[in-house]
């Protein structure tokens, strides 16, 4: 009698699990067709808030990675590089150069990208980048090794090098 009850309980729980799995899959189906939600914010400008996009390619500190709907929740520190946003129905991604920041992908297919500064690649002036790189290189060589000024100059050089690589010029 007890074994029958236990069997009943186990089958009903198994079918409940099956039902919950299938509803999760159904929800996944629904959200993947809807794409992912992107919040891309700068302190002085909100570039995207709650925008539905297809994919975002993020320049993480350990390497670039792409985020689509239902991506594993992830916290990544960004390195200076190109952030690409692919909108649904387009082939060309929208490119921004970001200087740093954080990207947090939540379990509900929402990604928050917060950067102190970002510019569209089209808005980058190649002559300004070259001159800034030269100035940073000069500052780095004249600064005392291990000092704060030397570290700042090194960061300056890396960012400008990344910007140059992003717009396709060689330094």
């Amino acid at each position: 009698m007890q074994r029958a009850i236990l069997r009943q309980i186990s089958t009903s729980s198994r079918s409940a699990m099956r039902r919950s799995f299938s509803s999760a899959a159904a929800a996944a189906e629904e959200s993947s067709t809807a794409g992912m939600t992107l919040n891309f914010n700068l302190p002085h400008e909100t570039i995207y808030s709650g925008a539905k996009v297809e994919q975002v390619i993020v320049p993480g500190a350990a390497g670039e990675y792409g985020v689509t709907a239902n991506h594993v929740p992830l916290v990544a520190q960004l390195k200076p590089g190109v952030l690409q946003i692919l909108h649904a129905g387009t082939n060309e991604p929208e490119k921004y150069f970001v200087a740093g920041g954080f990207s947090i992908t939540h379990p509900n297919s929402t990604t928050d990208i917060s950067c102190p500064e970002a510019v569209k690649l089209d808005d980058i002036d190649s002559t300004a980048v070259t001159s800034a790189y030269e100035a940073a290189k000069a500052a780095f060589s004249s600064a005392e090794a291990g000092s704060r000024a030397s570290a700042e100059a090194q960061i300056d050089m890396e960012v400008n090098k990344a910007m140059a690589a992003a717009i396709g010029i060689t330094l």
């Binding site: 919040n39 914010n41 500190a61 992908t105 917060s114 102190p116």
Partner: protein, 311 residues
């Protein structure tokens, strides 16, 4: 002839004597009231122009605040909601851990109404309650006005102050402020509590406090368990994320405080202009009365002098 000369002398000295008698009695002379009216008019001009300048600056601050809000949105999930300091009696601060760093955000310039006094009062109340619970706290003050008000009550708790902040603020400023906090030892505290004014509209602002705790990397209470971290070392990223979160929060609270300060200054200057206008009206009435009294006195002397001559 001698009589006329003496009457003339009397008629010349009499007003002066009357005025002196009036001044000695404590009533202002016509000249004094006139000077008072002139200086009050100048003050009214200054306060009304300050009000217009504040109104213009408020527009800019409001826009900056609107943009700062979505920028700071992601921190709300990690830090919890700000607590409204509406009735100081009911705030217990029980949720604070053992060591807290209190960061009140005040203004550098004055003539801004009650914004800074509210913050000072809240911080004083908080320190009293925190110490009563056996916990420790220290203070890093942002803004000169806060420093002058709080250094009298608890000078030993103030670690540093940040003054002469260039308005308007930007993210670099927030980064510099959070670097100052780190230099003051913010990483050694269990929580950072920001006390700030929040702008609601041009007439209303509230005080809030926010508690920002470093996130536990392991053990119970580990935060962000379901997230992967890239690069892989969670503790490093959590440390950097905490600094970035602190900077973002300081940026938002500073923008909020700046907008509240401008709106309060606008209201204070408007009230000052209105009061100056009322004072000018009262003084003008007094002035006219004094002037008429003087003219009446002169007339009486002339007439009495003339009638004394006739016979």
């Amino acid at each position: 002839m001698a009589l006329r000369a003496s009457v003339q002398r009397v008629s010349r000295t009499l007003p002066r004597l009357m005025a002196q008698a009036g001044a000695a009695r404590g009533m202002a002379t016509e000249k004094q009231i006139f000077n008072q009216i002139q200086s009050t008019k100048n003050i009214k001009k200054i306060t009304s122009s300050m009000k217009m300048v504040s109104a213009a600056k408020l527009k800019g601050d409001e826009t900056r605040l609107e943009l700062a809000k979505p920028f700071n949105e992601w921190t709300n999930a990690l830090c919890g909601k700000p607590v409204h300091l509406d009735d100081l009696e009911n705030i217990t601060y029980e949720e604070l851990p053992q060591k807290t760093l209190i960061v009140p955000i005040t203004s550098d310039k004055g003539l801004c109404g009650g914004v800074n006094s509210f913050i000072s009062r809240s911080v004083r109340d908080a320190i009293g309650k925190i110490n009563a619970q056996g916990k420790e706290c220290d203070v890093v003050i942002i803004g000169d006005k806060g420093r002058s008000q709080m250094s009298r009550s608890f000078p030993e708790k103030i670690l540093r102050t940040a003054t002469d902040i260039q308005a308007p603020g930007n993210f670099n400023l927030a980064a510099a402020l959070s670097a100052e906090l780190t230099a003051a030892g913010a990483m050694n505290y269990d929580a950072v509590m920001i006390v700030y004014n929040s702008y609601v509209n041009a007439a209303v602002y509230h005080q809030y406090y926010k508690v920002i705790k470093p996130m536990a990397v392991e053990g119970e209470g580990e935060s962000m368990v379901e997230y992967e971290f890239e690069p892989d070392v969670k503790s490093e990223i959590m440390g950097d994320l905490y600094e970035y979160m602190l900077t973002s929060q300081i940026y938002y609270c500073f923008m909020d405080g700046a907008a509240a300060e401008q709106s309060s200054r606008m209201t204070a200057m408007e009230n000052a202009s209105k009061n100056a206008g009322e004072m000018i009206d009262t003084l003008t009435l007094q002035y006219n009365r004094a002037r008429q009294a003087r003219i009446t006195t002169e007339l009486i002397e002339i007439i009495s002098g003339a009638s004394a001559l006739e016979g």
